[in-house]
C-alpha cells in the first residue's frame, strides 16, 4: 500500500517535471520552427495559415529562389565560413602553444602574463573599435576578411588560453617526463605528445570561439561592410533591410542562416556539454 502511494507520487512528480521541461522546450523551439516552415510556403500560405505545415497547396520555394537570385548569399556564406574556420585554426594553435608554455614552464612573470592574457575575457574588444578601425585603415586591410580574422583571433585568444591552461594542468606529469628522458626536444613534446592529448578540450574551445564569430554583426559592419566581403550575418541584415516587405524572401533568408548553425550545433552539442561538465570551464 505504501509503496504504491510513493510510486503514484513519483509518477505525478515526473509528469509535472516533464510538463515544465516540455513547455520551455516549446517556447525555445517554436519561433524557430515557425520561421522555417513558413519559408517553404507561398505568400498566400504564409498569411492564410501561418501555423500549419506546408501542404501541396501552399508549398513553394519561391522565397529561396528569390534570395539566391537577388543576393550574393553563397558568397556571404563562403566569407563567413572562411573567416570562422581560419580564425578557429589560428586561435587553437596559438592558444594551445601559449597555454602549454604558461602551464609547463616556470619563468619570471608567469602569473602576470596569464592575468594579462585573461583581461580580454571580461573586457569586450568592441570598446576598442575606434582604434581598431584606425589600425585596420593604416594596415590597408579595410574591407578584407583578413581584418576580421585578426580581430577575431585577438577576441578568441583570452578564453581559449584560459580553458586550455586549466586543461593542460590535468595532463599527467609522467607522460612529459618520459618523453624528456628519451631526449625529445621541447617543440616535439608539444606537437607530438601534448597536442594529441588536448583534443577533448579543443572541441569545447572551438565551439566557444566559433559561435560569437559566426554570429557577429559589429565588426563586419565596421571593418568589412561592402565589396562583397560581407559575412552571412551582415549580408542577411542588409538583405532584409532592403526586402523587408517581401515575406517569402525574408523567411527564406532567415532559414538559410539558421539551418547550417543548427546542424553544426546538433553535431557538436555533446562535446560542448562534455567540455563544460568535465571541468574545462570553471
Amino acid at each position: 500500500m505504501m509503496t504504491k502511494n510513493i510510486r503514484r507520487e513519483d509518477m505525478s512528480r515526473a509528469v509535472i517535471v516533464h510538463a515544465i521541461l516540455l513547455t520551455y522546450t516549446l517556447v525555445a523551439l517554436y519561433p524557430i520552427f515557425l520561421v522555417i516552415i513558413n519559408a517553404f510556403k507561398s505568400r498566400k500560405g504564409i498569411f492564410s495559415a501561418p501555423m500549419s505545415l506546408p501542404n501541396a497547396e501552399t508549398f513553394s520555394l519561391e522565397g529561396f529562389t528569390k534570395v539566391l537570385a537577388r543576393s550574393n548569399f553563397e558568397l556571404f556564406f563562403f566569407n563567413s565560413f572562411t573567416v570562422t574556420v581560419v580564425t578557429i585554426v589560428i586561435v587553437l594553435l596559438l592558444a594551445s602553444m601559449a597555454a602549454w608554455a604558461l602551464s609547463e614552464y616556470k619563468f619570471p612573470g608567469n602569473t602576470w602574463l596569464a592575468l594579462y592574457l585573461a583581461v580580454g575575457i571580461m573586457v569586450p574588444i568592441r570598446l576598442g573599435s575606434v582604434s581598431i578601425l584606425n589600425l585596420i585603415v593604416e594596415l590597408g586591410l579595410i574591407n578584407t576578411l583578413t581584418a576580421l580574422i585578426l580581430v577575431y583571433v585577438a577576441q578568441g585568444l583570452p578564453l581559449a588560453i584560459f580553458i586550455l591552461t586549466e586543461f593542460m594542468h590535468q595532463i599527467p606529469k609522467d607522460l612529459k617526463e618520459a618523453a624528456r628522458c628519451d631526449g625529445v626536444g621541447e617543440f616535439k613534446i608539444f606537437f607530438a605528445v601534448i597536442l594529441p592529448l588536448i583534443r577533448p578540450a579543443v572541441a569545447t574551445v572551438a565551439v566557444f570561439t566559433m559561435i560569437p564569430i559566426w554570429n557577429d554583426l559589429w565588426f563586419p559592419l565596421i571593418l568589412a561592410p561592402g565589396d562583397g566581403k560581407q559575412t552571412i550575418t551582415l549580408g542577411i541584415q542588409q538583405f532584409i533591410g532592403q526586402y523587408v516587405t517581401d515575406w517569402n524572401a525574408v523567411l527564406a533568408s532567415l532559414s538559410l542562416a539558421i539551418i547550417p548553425i543548427l546542424i553544426l550545433y546538433l553535431i557538436f552539442s555533446r562535446q560542448l556539454i562534455r567540455g563544460l561538465t568535465s571541468g574545462a570551464v570553471k
Binding site: 504564409i46 609547463e104 614552464y105 594542468h169 559561435i211 542577411i236
Partner: protein, 312 residues
C-alpha cells in the same frame, strides 16, 4: 584550482618558451589591448574633419556629460541599459537556474534532449533572433495574435515593438529568450559537479528534491550564479546587434530602445544629418569601459570574496 604550478625551469628551454608565447601575446596586444588603451587616449583628443588632432583634456567628457542634449542622450541610454540588464537578472537568470535545477534531478529521462533543445536559441545570431521575433510580433502577419488566441489572451496583443512604452521591455524579453541557455549551461555544469553523497544523505533524511535544491545545491553553486551575473552585466552593457537589427541605429521609437552600444555606434559613425566623431565615439567607449570595469571590480572584490569565504 588545486593543481600544481608550472614544473619545468624555463632556462632549459628559453627559445621554445618564447616561441610558444610570442605569437598569441603579440596578436592579442596589438588588436585588443593596444586599441583599448588607444581608445582611452583618443577620448582626450579632438579630430576636426581634415584638421590635426588636438589634445583637449576632459572636454569630450564635459560635452557628453555636461551638454544638455548629449547628457540627456547619454543618461537615457544608460538607464535603458540598466532596465535591459534588470530584466535579464530578474527573468533570464532565475529561469536558467530553475531549468538547470530541474535538468539535474536524478533519474530524469530525455535529459540530454531537453538540454540540447533549450540551448538552441543561444546558438543563433542575435540579428536572426531579432528578425524572427519582429516577424512573430508583427501585426501584419498576425501569428502572434493567433498564438495568444490559443490561450484566450488575444485581447492582450499590441504592437509592442512599435510603442515607446513597451519596445525596450519587449526587446529585453527577446534577448532573455535567446540567452537563457548561458545560465542554464553554466549552472547545470556546476550542479553536476556536486558530489552525490551530499544530496543522498539529505534525501535519506526525508528532504524533498526541492528542499535539497534550495538548501544544499543552490548555496553550493552561488559562485557560478555570481559569475553568470557578471557575464550578464558585461554582455548587456556591450549589447548592440539586437537593437540595431530590429530598431536600427536610431533605436526608436524616439530613442526609447537606445542603449550604450547603439549610442556608441551613432556617435562613432554618425547617422542621418549628424556626422560621426571618432573622438566622441572613443569617449562613449571609455565611459562604457568604466561602467563595465566598475561592475567587474564589484564582482571581484565584493561578491566573489564573500562567496569564497562562504565556501570555507
Amino acid at each position: 584550482m588545486a593543481h600544481s604550478g608550472p614544473m619545468t625551469d624555463w632556462r632549459k628551454a628559453k627559445l621554445p618558451v618564447f616561441a610558444f608565447l610570442a605569437p598569441a601575446t603579440i596578436i592579442y596586444t596589438l588588436f585588443m589591448i593596444y586599441p583599448l588603451i588607444d581608445s582611452i587616449r583618443l577620448s582626450f583628443y579632438t579630430t576636426p574633419s581634415g584638421g590635426e588632432m588636438a589634445f583637449v583634456g576632459f572636454d569630450n567628457y564635459r560635452t557628453i556629460l555636461g551638454d544638455p542634449d548629449w547628457s540627456a542622450t547619454f543618461w537615457n541610454s544608460f538607464w535603458n541599459n540598466m532596465k535591459f540588464f534588470a530584466v535579464h537578472m530578474l527573468v533570464q537568470n532565475p529561469i536558467g537556474i530553475a531549468l538547470a535545477g530541474i535538468l539535474s534531478l536524478p533519474q530524469l529521462r530525455f535529459r540530454n534532449t531537453y538540454r540540447t533543445m533549450m540551448i538552441m536559441p543561444t546558438m543563433l545570431s542575435v540579428v536572426i533572433v531579432g528578425f524572427i521575433w519582429q516577424l512573430i510580433l508583427s501585426p501584419v502577419w498576425g501569428v502572434g495574435v493567433d498564438i495568444l488566441d490559443i490561450f484566450g489572451l488575444k485581447s492582450l496583443f499590441g504592437p509592442w515593438l512599435g510603442k515607446e512604452g513597451s519596445a525596450l521591455i519587449t526587446l529585453s524579453f527577446i534577448s532573455v529568450w535567446q540567452w537563457v541557455g548561458i545560465p542554464l549551461m553554466l549552472i547545470y555544469a556546476a550542479l553536476l559537479a556536486i558530489p552525490d553523497d551530499l544530496v543522498d544523505a539529505a534525501i535519506v533524511d526525508g528532504a524533498t528534491h526541492f528542499e535539497v535544491f534550495l538548501h544544499i545545491k543552490l548555496p553550493l553553486v552561488l559562485p557560478t550564479v555570481a559569475m553568470v551575473s557578471i557575464l550578464t552585466f558585461v554582455g548587456n552593457f556591450n549589447a548592440f546587434d539586437l537593437i540595431y537589427a530590429v530598431k536600427g541605429a536610431l533605436a526608436g521609437p524616439n530613442f526609447s530602445t537606445d542603449i550604450m552600444g547603439t549610442l556608441f555606434y551613432r556617435t562613432f559613425f554618425g547617422y542621418q544629418l549628424q556626422l560621426g566623431d571618432p573622438s566622441l565615439g572613443a569617449t562613449v567607449a571609455s565611459l562604457m569601459f568604466l561602467i563595465i570595469l566598475a561592475g567587474v571590480l564589484f564582482y571581484l572584490f565584493a561578491v566573489q570574496r564573500r562567496l569564497a569565504r562562504y565556501q570555507l
